[in-house]
Amino acid sequence: MKRIAVNIEICDGCGVCQLVCSAQKAGQWHPSFSRIIIKRDEEFGLNVPIFCMHCSNPPCETFCVMNLIYKDHDSDLTLRHEDRCIGCRACEIACPFSAAIMDPISEAVVNCDLCGGDPQCVKYCPAGALAFIDISEAADKKRRQTAGLQILEASRKL
């Protein structure tokens, strides 16, 4: 199962992902239409791209008063019947990451759908901070390249 992963250290907050997303998904060039949001922390100079995590038991689904959010059986994505949305914004509050956002024109709340398996934000990220990888592969990589490697190196020094 492939998902988007971020390397926060590399992201410099240029916002290209937001523009690409808004163009792809809403036909507009404006970050407020984007399903990927960059949370900026001025104090530390941090830029963290945030997007739908496609939770397995999504709280947004529980909060939706129109029952229009569903887990797609095959892809395990959290998807919506956007045409039924009444714009009450309950899912926006329920989502811990505020990754559900209100499209200012259609007034329906939307979330990332991974562009059907080819996320454009990842494709156009100039810094290479976004990656589209298999989640178990990502965990393996972390174990191998971080935790395990540190121990290996420490034992070499002995």
């Binding site: 199962m1 397995s56 999504p58 990451f97 393996d140 972390k142 290996l152």
Partner: protein, 155 residues
């Protein structure tokens, strides 16, 4: 936490017995991918690193969990996941510095080592004694002994 799974990396041969046992105990199937303890193998270096939960004092998985599903018990030191609260957002998987927190695609919830409720089966079945479930003092004592012996030998 008075007792912990103490790992002697030099003894581990990477046989995957612990992974098999763990997945058998928790998931009723022998599948290393569903094991809590995972062995990272570096074949060219002839070195194997079993990785399991460290039961950190201030665990990043607990802070990062947005639904309060992971909690650290102040008395026992246990870090546990409540599947009823887990929303399956995989933040803990990303936050764990060891890559220990694991995720079940079937159930849609995260899972982690629970020390088999007090008698870890991976330790029970580890035939090389690379894994030991011992109080911290004992583990360190053994290590000090070994180091002292080394010094004696070389001296």
């Amino acid at each position: 936490m008075d007792k912990l799974i103490f790992i002697d990396y030099h003894k581990c041969v990477g046989c995957a017995t612990c992974e098999m046992v763990c997945s058998m105990v928790h998931e009723d199937i022998c599948s290393p991918a569903l094991s809590r303890i995972r062995v990272v193998r570096y074949p060219t270096e002839a070195f194997n690193v079993p990785i399991t939960c460290a039961f950190c004092e201030s665990p990043p998985c607990v802070s990062v969990c947005p639904s309060g599903a992971i909690t650290k018990n102040a008395d026992s030191g246990d870090v546990a996941i409540n599947p009823a609260l887990c929303i399956g957002c995989r933040q803990c998987v990303q936050a764990c510095p060891f890559g220990h927190a694991n995720f079940s695609l079937d159930r849609g919830t995260a899972f982690k080592c629970d020390l088999c409720g007090g008698s870890p089966q991976c330790v029970e079945f580890c035939w090389t004694e690379a894994l030991q479930y011992v109080p911290l003092d004992r583990a360190l004592g053994g290590k000090r002994d070994a180091a002292a012996r080394n010094i004696l030998k070389s001296g």
